[in-house]
Symmetry: C2
DNA sequence: TTACTTTTGATGTATATACAATTAAATTTG
DNA sequence: CAAATTTAATTGTATATACATCAAAAGTAA
C-alpha cells in the first residue's frame, strides 16, 4: 500500500518529508506485527532485542552499559530490561569480579530455549512482511546506511 | 555510519534481518534527533504529529477516531494526546452537534503559531540529517512502499 | 417502542521511552 | 594517601505505547 493511502495524507511538501514519514510508519508497522508474535511468548520487542544481544555474546557475560550501547533504541533503559529478564529466569546477573561497579549479564538455558522457539516464528513473520527481493533488500540497506551519513556521529552532542 | 558499527553487531543472518534492524535503528535515530528540536517547544513527537494532522484539515474539525487513523503510530492513544493539546491551549475540542458521540477537534491560533515556529526548525534538522539526494530519496520511498505490499491490509486481523 | 448491536471516546493498567538524579566503585590528581 | 572526578548501574518521574474495558450515543430490528 502506498503511504498516501495508509495514513490518508495525499500530499507531502517534498520527497524528504515523505521519506521520513514513510520510514517512521514502516518501522512502526514492523514493530506492531513482530510484537504480536513475541507477545505469544511473553516477550516485548525490547526484551527480545536484549535477549538476542545476550545470545550474540555466545553466553559470555556483558555489562549493562554494553547492552545499552548495542540496543537499537539506545535511549531505552537497559537496567530495567535486564531486571525483567532476570525475573523471568531468562537472564542472570552477577556483580563483575574485576570491576564491582559492573554487572555480568548472561543468558540462561531457559532464555536460549525461548529464543530457539521464537526465532523461526519471527523469521517466518518477517519473510511474510517484507515484500522485497534479495537485491532490493540490499539496495534498501545501502540507502539507509547512506541516509545516516551526515550527523550520526553527533547523536549525543 | 554503517549499521554494523552503529550497533556493534558484525554479522546478520541475511539481508532481510539486516534490513529490519537497519530500518528500526534509523527510525529510532530520526525520532531521537527530531524529538530534541520539538522538546525546545514543549512538544513530543506524537503531539507534533497530531498537531500537523489538525493543521492539515485547514482548521476544520476532525474526530478523535479520524486522528487515530491518520497517526503514524495507530496503536497510540489519540484521546489522551488530544487531551494534552487542549490543556496546552494548542487545540480545542467540542462535542459534535450531528453525532454526540464524536468530538470536533481543531487547532487553535496558538497551535498554528507554534507549528509555524517549529516547522522551519524541523525542516532544517531533517535536511541536516538525511544524507540522500533527491533521486535517492525517491528510490527509498519506493522501496519502503513496496516493502509493505505483502501484508499491510491485514494489520488488524 | 424496547432490546440488541455497533460506534465513539474515555479510562485503566502494564510496559516502554526519555531523561534527570542518585549511589557506589574506580580512577585521577594533588 | 585523601579529595575530586569519572564511570556504571539503579532509581525516579513524566510521557508514550499497547491493549483491554467501559459508558454513552447512535443505529438496527423485533
Amino acid at each position: 500500500m502506498k503511504l498516501e493511502e495508509a495514513i490518508q495524507q495525499q500530499k507531502f511538501r517534498n520527497q524528504r518529508e515523505k521519506l521520513i514519514v514513510n520510514l517512521l510508519y514502516t518501522a512502526s508497522w514492523i514493530k506492531t506485527e513482530s510484537g504480536k508474535v513475541l507477545k505469544q511468548h511473553g516477550l516485548s520487542i525490547p526484551l527480545f532485542n536484549v535477549l538476542r544481544i545476550l545470545k550474540g555474546q555466545n553466553s559470555s557475560p556483558v555489562s549493562v552499559l554494553e547492552i545499552q550501547q548495542r540496543m537499537l533504541d539506545q535511549q531505552s533503559n537497559a537496567s530495567r530490561l535486564v531486571d525483567r529478564l532476570v525475573n523471568k529466569g531468562l537472564a542472570q546477573r552477577v556483580i563483575c569480579k574485576e570491576d564491582r561497579r559492573k554487572m555480568d549479564v548472561s543468558i540462561t538455558n531457559q532464555g536460549l530455549k525461548l529464543l530457539n522457539d521464537v526465532m523461526p516464528q519471527i523469521d517466518e513473520e518477517h519473510g511474510y512482511l517484507v515484500g522485497l527481493s534479495e537485491e532490493e533488500q540490499k539496495e534498501a540497506n545501502e540507502l539507509l546506511d547512506k541516509m545516516r551519513t551526515k550527523k550520526e556521529g553527533e547523536i549525543n552532542v
